[in-house]
């Protein structure tokens, strides 16, 4: 009986963790979108005011960030600094290197990939417009992410706990 109870406890903990992890992705997605917006605002300053060359601008922006979003900026900046590639290729490298750690949805990734297509190619005005466009699109994504979090985060947490209880009852 003791073993059964211990097993049920482990099952409940596992299902609850799965539920909380799933719910956490919704919360992390909101955080990452917000950090992307902050990062783009910082990049805007580096390009618009400081005229910092792109490799250093991306690396400096990455250093200011806390979430997995930092990896996109750091990896792409480092790729641009060390390899003779275009900013678009470096940006793709950064996204691919960080994607597994991100909670962003494909739609969000599509926005930042599109942003990379025009990165580094034009004058200040063109670069700032590209940043503004990406920020506007991320703002829409942020609204959707908040709504998704509101709808689904609690659902997954509850499902995780209830699922564990149901499985435990079946086993007992």
């Amino acid at each position: 009986m003791l073993i059964k109870l211990l097993g049920c406890g482990i099952i409940m903990l596992c299902t609850a963790k799965i539920g909380f992890d799933k719910a956490g992705r919704f919360t992390r997605r909101v955080g990452e979108i917000r950090e992307l917006q902050t990062a783009l605002a910082a990049l805007k300053g580096e390009i618009g005011f400081a005229r910092t060359p792109m490799p250093e601008a991306l690396i400096k922006t990455g250093q200011r960030l806390k979430t997995a979003v930092a990896g996109i900026f750091s990896a792409s900046g480092e790729a641009l600094r060390t390899c003779d590639i275009t900013a678009g290729t470096a940006w793709e490298t950064g996204i691919d290197a960080s994607k597994k750690d991100l909670a962003l949805k494909e739609d969000d990734i599509y926005i930042i990939r599109s942003f990379g297509e025009l990165l580094g190619g034009g004058d200040v005005a063109g670069q700032l417009e590209n940043i503004d466009l990406a920020m506007a699109r991320l703002s829409v994504s942020e609204g959707e992410a908040i709504e998704d979090e509101r709808k689904h985060a609690r659902l997954y947490r509850t499902l995780g706990i209830i699922g564990g209880i149901v499985l435990a009852v079946i086993f007992i």
Binding site: T52, P53, L80, T86, A90, G121, G122, D123
Partner: protein, 286 residues
């Protein structure tokens, strides 16, 4: 010349050709959209079996400008970018004009990477005339392509070893600044004001860097007031000017009283190759 550093800017297919080519006498690499790439080797134009597309020129432009056109826009407006090593990529494309001034160059149609070669010691024959006794205000005169800038750079390097030298490098050809660092040796005690018009820059450097010598390239009549200001501060001026002889330069640049201030006039030619010292005229004021 570091071959690896030069060829890395170009499309892979061209890189492969360049890797297999003797580049010891290479002077320039030219890309034109839709046309065969060309090399300038020892004064000859050599067309390669390799065509560059416009997209490849844009890609090359991005790599040359480190994906930071906005950071090099002042150079790009003047149709060039200085890259690491002091080499200069000349650019051709469609000019974007605003208010009568070029503000950008887009749709790049031609790139010409000209290799910078510093000739250390090429001014040795001039130095003794410029410094002999005391430092003299010097004007180096020659037609184009006779090595004025190369001699001027070497003079700056020599003088900058022991004196406070300010270089006003309006066209970025003397020091070939890249990311704030001179790519060519202009002397240990030399300060460089990059891409600034001489008429403004000379006054700025007089106030900010307190130089003993001002060095500048290809002066025009619009720069004479600034040169007069430097001379009146007791600062020595070493400059170059296009021309065949001093009299022609004096009239064309309307040197006026400033003409008498130049105590050493160096005339160059290509008689025995660029940088041949034709004559040195000295008007000792002491």
């Amino acid at each position: 010349m570091n071959k690896e550093k030069i060829i890395r800017y170009f499309p892979e297919k061209l890189q492969r050709i360049l890797e297999a080519t003797d580049l010891s006498k290479l002077e320039e690499i030219r890309l034109r959209a839709g046309k065969r790439c060309a090399l300038g080797i020892d004064g000859n134009n050599i067309l390669l079996d390799c065509t560059a597309s416009q997209a490849e020129l844009e890609q090359t432009m991005q790599i040359i400008s480190r994906a930071s056109v906005y950071a090099y826009i002042e150079e790009i407006k003047n149709c060039f970018v200085t890259v690491e090593g002091g080499h200069r990529a000349g650019l051709c494309g469609r000019a974007v004009i605003s208010g009568g001034e070029i503000i950008n160059l887009i749709q790049i149609s031609g790139i010409n990477l000209r290799l910078a070669r510093q000739v250390v010691g090429c001014a040795d024959g001039v130095v003794r005339h410029v410094i002999g006794g005391r430092l003299k205000n010097t004007l180096i005169i020659s037609p184009p392509q006779c090595g004025k800038t190369t001699i001027l750079r070497d003079l700056a390097r020599t003088l900058g070893g022991s004196r406070r030298v300010s270089v006003i490098d309006e066209r970025g050809e003397i020091a070939a600044m890249h990311a704030g660092v001179p790519q060519l040796d202009v002397g240990e005690m030399t300060d460089v004001l990059d891409l600034c018009p001489k008429s403004v820059g000379i006054g700025l450097m007089l106030r900010s860097m307190s130089p003993e010598v001002v060095v500048t390239d290809e002066i025009s009549s619009g720069d004479i007031a600034a040169i007069t200001q430097a001379l009146s501060c007791g600062v020595k001026v070493i400059a170059t000017a296009h021309g065949d002889n001093f009299e022609q330069v004096r009239q064309r640049l309307k040197l006026g009283d400033v003409a008498g201030e130049f105590e050493c006039i160096v005339l160059l030619s290509r008689k025995n190759g660029a940088g041949t010292i034709e004559s040195v005229l000295k008007a000792d004021k002491a």
